[in-house]
Each structure stands twice: as structure tokens, then as C-alpha cells.
């Protein structure tokens, strides 16, 4: 398993390396010591697993997750910030307390590789690095964070310089432009309803004719979205396929 270690302390990284020598399946591809370095290394090396310290110079481990294009499996390592990880809602996220117990490390690695394998056995990820329905994204809104599978997202709407992502009964801000997001999503999954919104085609429950030859979509979470005339034709083509 290609693994990246992120910790600002050399000795802490050395200690992790020592502990990982008992796990030959782990291949350490690089180390990073701050937020910017970690984001750069993750996007360049695309590791499968991240051993991530929470307190970093220039931010936190959560900032790293919010900044990356490619989201690996994550195991947090922390001296005393377990509360920050436990604050995660409805997300089984692993953390290890420093100094790390070898047995706990073994369990966390086993769980990570289990999750990785179950994702690999899911429908094949489309080529070109596009994100499919089963891929997860890291979302954050203030103190709250989520890992959300794309299939659970109902729609995304432009909100200033950010994108507001709606999923379940929650919504969170994502620090990306809508076009950048659209470019990374599998086209069969999301549809550009209008200039400001992307909608998950599987979340649509009802389509009604609307003004200006457009449509009004009703979504499974009860929200509605308007489809512009230009996109209405596109939607008809997409749905008749």
C-alpha cells in the first residue's frame, strides 16, 4: 500500500517508519511536514494511504484533506487531538494516539486495506481520473467535516467563490469552482442544470415543464432546481439515452 507520512516532527516520522517496518505491505512513498507540502505530495504521488498528523505548521490535517484532488484512505495520528477526529459525524475515521501502540497500528492498517479493497471491487472507476458514484470527497463546513460518497450528493450550487454541496439533510461548502468540479466528475453522474448548479441525475424524482421552455426538477431531498432552456434539450438527450 503506497503510503504518505505527514508529520512536522522528524522524530515522529522516524518513529512511524520504525513501527511500519513490521508491515512489509506498506510502501512509504514520501514524507511531508506541513500543509502545503502534504497537498503537493498527495496530488503528485496519489498514495493509497495517508498517516496524517492533525497539528501542522500552516494549518491542520483537515486543511490537507480539504485541499487535495485525490483523497486517499486516512489514518490520523495525534498526541492529544482525538476529540477533533471524534467530532466527525457518521464517519468511521481512524486515529492513532502518539506514542502509537503497535497493535492499534496493525488494526488501523487492516481496516484501511479492507476499505481500499471494497472500493476496488466496486464498479470500475472511469479512466482519466474521473470520480464515480462510489468515490468519496472530503467536505467541511466550519467545525464539521464529512467524507461523502458522490452518489449521496443530490446537487451542488454556486455560493460566492465556493460551491455549496447538498447531501442527505446536510450541506457543506467546498473550496472549488463549479466548472473545476464538473470537469472531475463522471458525466453520467452529474448534469449541469444551469449556470449555477450541478445535479445528481439519480437524485431527480420529478421533472415538470417550466417557464422559458425550461424544466423544474424536484429532488429526493425535497429541493427544486430550474433547468435553463439551453440545458433542457441536453437533459432530454441525456435521459433518452
Amino acid at each position: 500500500m503506497r503510503t504518505l507520512i505527514v508529520d512536522d516532527t522528524r522524530l515522529a516520522r522516524a518513529e512511524l517508519r520504525t513501527l511500519l517496518t513490521d508491515h512489509p505491505q506498506i510502501e512509504i512513498v514520501a514524507e511531508a511536514e506541513d500543509v502545503a507540502g502534504a497537498i503537493e505530495a498527495i496530488d503528485r504521488l496519489q498514495p493509497a494511504l495517508l498517516l496524517l498528523d492533525i497539528q501542522l505548521p500552516g494549518g491542520t490535517g483537515f486543511d490537507v484533506l480539504a485541499g487535495v484532488e485525490h483523497l486517499p484512505q486516512v489514518i490520523f495520528t495525534t498526541a492529544y487531538d482525538q476529540y477533533a477526529v471524534e467530532a466527525f459525524q457518521r464517519n468511521a475515521l481512524d486515529y492513532l494516539l502518539k506514542p502509537i501502540e503497535p497493535e492499534r497500528l496493525r488494526q488501523a492498517l487492516a481496516r484501511a486495506s479492507e476499505r481500499l479493497n471494497s472500493e476496488r471491487s466496486a464498479p470500475a472507476v472511469p479512466a482519466g481520473g474521473l470520480l464515480g458514484a462510489q468515490d468519496t470527497v472530503f467536505l467541511r463546513d466550519g467545525e464539521r467535516c464529512w467524507f461523502v460518497a458522490l452518489r449521496d450528493i443530490s446537487h451542488m450550487v454556486v455560493d460566492g467563490n465556493y460551491v455549496r454541496v447538498h447531501f442527505g439533510s446536510e450541506k457543506a461548502l467546498l473550496n472549488r469552482s463549479l466548472s473545476a468540479l464538473e470537469a472531475r466528475l463522471e458525466p453520467n453522474l452529474f448534469f449541469r442544470a444551469n449556470r449555477n448548479a450541478l445535479v445528481n441525475l439519480r437524485a431527480i424524482t420529478q421533472i415538470d415543464p417550466w417557464v422559458n421552455d425550461g424544466y423544474r426538477l424536484r429532488l429526493r431531498d425535497g429541493q427544486t432546481l430550474e433547468v435553463s432552456r439551453r440545458q433542457a434539450r441536453e437533459l432530454r438527450e441525456r435521459l433518452s439515452l
Binding site: 512536522d8 516532527t9 522528524r10 522524530l11 515522529a12 522516524a14 518513529e15 520504525t18 511536514e33 506541513d34 502545503a36 497539528q55 505548521p57 500552516g58 498526541a79 492529544y80 487531538d81 494516539l97 502518539k98 506514542p99 502509537i100
Partner: protein, 350 residues
């Protein structure tokens, strides 16, 4: 502290009590003198008068906080108020009674308005008021003692919470667990340095745990602890942490609350050095001005009061300094990319 029983409940009790008293008086008069409208009039007027008097007594006592006074003060005030109120009640009973009797509206046999009889009536009116006052005062006393017990317990809980927060600020779990983690790696890498670090960590923990809030230490003692602490942080941050120390020699014997400088240094590292990817220089300066000890800690970084973590340690330090009087001072300022923390401590007897 007023009584907090619902008002309606008090009215019910009062109504039953004085209604019962009026009924009893009426029954007595019927038993001794037979049915007379005057007798019923007296009983009803007495009941109403005593009811009003007891309410007035209660109001007086609560408004002027008689219950907080020593027993003698409470008793003579009560006695005076009861005597006056009883006299007033008697006037309100006897004047209409006499008028009613003369005009023939009321009948009564064996009425006696001689001075001795009036004195006896007055006494008879005071008796139930005394009983009422005794019962009311006891009830209030019980309630007060319960309330003060509750307040005492609450204050105790608050204090132990504060002490716990202060202890955790002094022990700094982040620091301790990171140090232990680094130690694990250092044992493989540099045994001699690891052994030295165990001693330094022990000293730091002993100092954090060992001082009661009353003690003072010399600056030399405090510096020894700070240096042990910095040695451990140097292992953690390596070249990212650089320390410059300038302390005037004559300040070394000055006294200060234990952990004062230590907390400033910890803060400078936690909120300054640790957040800078390249680290930075920590400056520790100290000296005497007019016999007062001053200490300053400067680190690169910005002042962010919104974040948590600043709170507990600095609150502890502020409260320790406040206890030393007006001349003690603590300030935290930001200037050109640096944060400067400064304390001044007046000389005090050890």
C-alpha cells in the same frame, strides 16, 4: 433571598390557617356566650386582621432582611412589629364593634372595654402572631440553610473545576505525549540523549505538579525548569526552534509564582513557533525595574484571540498575578509579525 414557594400555595395555607383561627374563635365564643352577631363579627375581623398582619410581617421581614440579622436583632424587631400590628388589629376590631353595638346593628352580651380587658385582648391577639412568626422564621431558616448548602457545594464544584483546568494547563498533554513519542524514536537513535530527556521531562512534570497555589519560586528556579522544558521542545522542533535568553543577573533571586514564565514560553511555542513552517526565534528577556521583576517573551506569529487553547493557561496566569496586587501586570501585544508577552511582578515577602 425571598421565599420561592408559589404564591398561590402560600395564599392557600394562610387562608386555611386564619380561616381556621376565625372559626375556632367563633366556636369558643358561641360555647361561652351563645350565638351573637357581635361574636361572629369579632371572629371574622380577627381572622382578617391577623391574616393581613402576618402578610405585613412577612413583607417587612423580607424587605429589610431581618432574617440575616443576629437573633436578638430579629427578635426585638419582630416583637415591636407584632405589638404594633396587634394593637392596630384590636383598634380595627373594637372601634367598628363599639359603633355597631351603639347603633344596635350588632349584639353582644358581657362586653367589657375596661383597660385591663383591652390589655388582655391585645395579648390574645399577639399570641397567634407570635406562634405564626415562630413557625415562619423556622421555615425560612431551614430553607436558607439548604440554599446556602447548595451554594457552597456549587462554589466548591466550580473551584475544583478551575483547579483541574489549571493543572491541565500546567501539564499540557500535547507536550507530554509528543515528548514521549519523540522519546520512543530517540531511544533507537541516540540513547544518551534519550536518557537525558527522561530526566528533563521528569523535572518539568514534577515542577508542574508540585506547587500549591500559595508558593513562590525564585527566577533562577523557574529558569531551570524553562530550560529543561526548552530542551525537550528542541528535540521536538529541532532546527525550527531557536532560543535567545537575556536575563539580568540581579533578577535571578526575584520571586514569582511558579509556572509564570513557563506558561508564557509554552504559549509562545504552541501559538507561535509551532505554526511557522520554518520555525523561528524565541526571545526570553528579564530584569528589574525599581525592584520589580519584569519578564518578556517574544515569538514570531500573530495574535489570535478567537482560537481556543489560549484561554486556560493565560487565565491561570492572570489570576495568579491578580492575587499579587495592583502592581502585578500582564500584557500580550502583536507588533510587526511578532507577539510579545510581558509580565511585571512586584517584590513580595517569601
Amino acid at each position: 433571598m425571598s421565599d420561592r414557594r408559589p404564591r398561590s400555595l402560600r395564599w392557600l395555607w394562610q387562608c386555611l390557617l386564619w380561616g381556621g383561627y376565625a372559626a375556632l374563635s367563633a366556636a369558643m365564643m358561641v360555647a361561652f356566650a351563645g350565638h351573637h352577631s357581635g361574636g361572629y363579627f369579632i371572629a371574622v375581623m380577627l381572622g382578617l386582621g391577623l391574616w393581613a398582619s402576618s402578610e405585613a410581617l412577612r413583607k417587612l421581614a423580607l424587605q429589610h432582611d431581618w432574617l440575616a440579622r443576629p437573633l436578638a436583632g430579629l427578635l426585638w424587631r419582630m416583637a415591636l412589629a407584632i405589638a404594633l400590628l396587634a394593637a392596630l388589629v384590636q383598634v380595627l376590631v373594637i372601634v367598628p364593634l363599639v359603633v355597631g353595638l351603639t347603633l344596635g346593628w350588632l349584639q353582644l352580651t358581657g362586653s367589657d372595654f375596661s383597660p385591663w380587658a383591652l390589655l388582655a385582648y391585645w395579648f390574645n391577639t399577639m399570641m397567634p402572631m407570635w406562634l405564626w412568626a415562630a413557625a415562619w422564621i423556622s421555615l425560612q431558616a431551614i430553607r436558607r440553610s439548604r440554599q446556602s448548602e447548595l451554594l457552597r457545594l456549587r462554589a466548591e464544584a466550580e473551584r475544583s473545576q478551575l483547579e483541574f483546568a489549571a493543572l491541565r494547563a500546567r501539564l499540557n498533554p500535547h507536550f507530554v505525549f509528543n515528548a514521549l513519542n519523540n522519546l520512543r524514536a530517540l531511544i533507537n537513535e541516540d540513547t544518551e540523549r534519550a536518557r537525558q530527556m527522561v530526566t528533563q521531562l521528569s523535572n518539568t512534570l514534577r515542577h508542574a505538579l508540585g506547587h500549591s497555589t500559595a508558593e513562590m519560586v525564585t527566577l533562577a528556579e523557574e529558569l531551570a525548569v524553562v530550560q529543561d522544558y526548552l530542551a525537550i521542545e528542541a528535540v521536538h522542533f529541532e532546527q525550527r526552534l531557536r532560543v535567545e535568553e537575556q536575563i539580568e543577573a540581579e533578577a535571578l533571586t526575584a520571586l514569582l509564582p511558579p509556572m509564570s514564565l513557563q506558561l508564557l514560553v509554552e504559549n509562545a511555542i504552541k501559538h507561535g513557533i509551532a505554526l511557522q513552517p520554518q520555525g523561528g526565534t524565541l526571545q526570553i528577556q528579564g530584569g528589574l525595574i525599581d525592584g520589580r521583576l519584569w519578564l518578556a517573551v517574544r515569538n514570531p506569529g500573530r495574535l489570535d484571540r478567537s482560537g481556543n487553547g489560549h484561554g486556560v493557561g493565560l487565565a491561570y496566569l492572570s489570576s495568579r498575578l491578580q492575587a499579587l496586587g495592583e502592581l502585578a501586570a500582564f500584557s500580550l501585544d502583536a507588533q510587526d509579525g511578532h507577539v510579545l508577552a510581558r509580565i511585571e511582578i512586584p517584590p513580595c515577602a517569601p
